[in-house]
């Protein structure tokens, strides 16, 4: 049974929605208690001290009580400044929130995921290669949830991955030596698998291949349900505009 009272708990707000005229329902990702749904009573009122603290992408310190599925917030405040995500980085943040909401069960603590999440948020606001930040977070998330990807040995004979070779990565099995006759899985170079494993800088091919690769693995574990943030990201930043920006036209 969940403890009745929790205090001083590091957390991030994943999502909030209005509940009643004065209250909001929030999804918190806490370090020691995992994902929790809470009601913040009176948080929509002008006088509420919590109103300015119920923001995503900001380290929070939260307290709550209650025995049921939905807890009641007893205190919540920002700890340090907000990550200040703007533009594309903000939508990368929402995408990470959706992954956590969809892949973590309620009340299932994952301190490793929490720390990687906090780290990735901080990197999104500073590092230019946002795609790399996302790929590494996704890889760590899959690993910490027990769906770890096979990145150093092939799934056929367990031979070390050769950076110069091509493989077909099957979400249910791992990388298999490339064959023209087998069209299952995603085609990737060994170098891409190793770059993900070693978390080195990405070149253009690694960026392209790792995106398709991890997307197929995530889709497999998400049971084919589309990620909403991915669809909205596509609306906000259509692929053509990205290409124009790159070529400077």
């Amino acid at each position: 049974m969940e403890k009745r009272r929790v205090a001083n708990e590091p957390a991030f707000l994943l999502h909030r929605r209005p509940y009643t005229e004065s209250s909001v329902l929030i999804d918190l990702f806490s370090r020691h208690h995992g994902r929790i749904v809470l009601i913040a009573k009176g948080a929509r009122k002008l006088k509420s001290r919590w109103r300015g603290s119920l923001l995503p992408f900001q380290p929070l310190i939260a307290a709550w009580s209650g025995r049921g599925e939905v807890k009641t917030v007893t205190g919540i405040e920002g700890e340090g400044p907000s990550c200040g995500l703007r533009g594309k980085a903000l939508y990368c943040g929402y995408y990470m929130n959706e992954l956590v909401l969809r892949l973590l069960h309620r009340f299932d603590p994952h301190e490793d995921v929490f720390d990687n999440y906090a780290n990735a948020l901080a990197l999104l606001s500073t590092e230019e290669d946002q795609e790399r930040v996302l790929r590494i977070f996704e890889k760590q998330l899959l690993r910490d949830l027990g769906y770890g990807m096979h990145l150093v040995r092939d799934a056929d004979r367990g031979n070390p991955i050769d950076p110069g070779e091509r493989y077909r990565y099957r979400p249910d099995a791992g990388p298999l030596p490339y064959s023209d006759t087998d069209h299952h899985g995603v085609s990737v170079h060994g170098a891409t698998l190793l770059a993900l494993e070693e978390e080195v800088e990405f070149d253009e091919r690694t960026r392209r291949e790792s995106k398709r690769l991890i997307r197929s693995v995530l889709d497999y574990h998400l049971g084919g349900q589309a990620l909403r943030t991915r669809i909205v990201y596509g609306q906000m930043f259509p692929p053509e505009s990205g290409r124009n920006r790159l070529t400077g036209s």
């Binding site: 006088k47 300015g52 959706e98 943030t229």
Partner: protein, 199 residues
């Protein structure tokens, strides 16, 4: 199961209201049937009527029973000023405060990626058409000061950047009657960032 079909339908219908769970829906249904049949009929009529006759104003996108609403047709409003808000309730609040004399545009929501709400789900293409058609000189982005409201304002500002219009955002900071001791740190930090010289 002797529960009547009509009562169950009413309960299911009431449950669609925001913040109404199964228990509240049941309480409302029983109240209407036990104590206020007259009220129940009034409610049904009013809902029917509104659902049939309320449309969106072609200019500001707010709810309206006429093609263009009363604010948009008023000669007293400054046509060069356009205030963009998230909801009809926001517009109503600004109207009640009384100081704003320009026109409005109601987005009917805000960008919320986790709810699957992107630019295509909001009336943003309508808003761009309005800017083409009418002599707007300043757009005031009065979306909420939440992360989503700010993201919506950023996106709109980006869409307008090639136009010769002033784009402004509501000032934020310490509310009237606010005591610093009880201010959350985000609001306080923002108030410092947006401070203004008075002398």
């Amino acid at each position: 199961m002797s529960e009547s079909h009509s009562i169950d339908r009413l309960r299911q219908a009431l449950k669609r209201l925001p913040g109404v769970g199964p228990k509240t829906a049941q309480r409302m249904a029983f109240h209407l049937l036990e104590r206020d049949r007259e009220g129940a009929r009034l409610l049904a009529e009013a809902i029917n009527d509104a659902a049939d006759s309320v449309k969106h104003c072609v200019r500001c996108n707010n709810f309206s029973e006429t093609e263009t609403c009363a604010i948009c047709t008023s000669p007293k409003r400054e046509a060069g000023l356009l205030c963009v808000v998230e909801t009809p309730a926001d517009l109503e609040t600004i109207e009640q405060a009384g100081a704003y004399t320009g026109l409005y545009f109601v987005l009917m929501g805000y960008l919320s990626p986790l709810d699957g709400i992107g630019p295509d789900e909001l009336a943003i293409s309508r808003l761009l058409l309005i800017l083409d058609e009418y002599p707007v000189t300043e757009v005031i982005l009065a979306t909420n000061l939440t992360v989503e409201g700010q993201a919506t304002a950023d996106y709109l500002a980006d869409q307008f950047s090639s136009r010769e219009i002033v784009i402004s955002r509501l000032a934020r900071g310490v509310p009237a009657g606010g005591e610093l001791e009880y201010m959350d740190s985000n609001t306080l930090n923002q108030a410092f960032a947006d401070r203004r010289a008075i002398h």
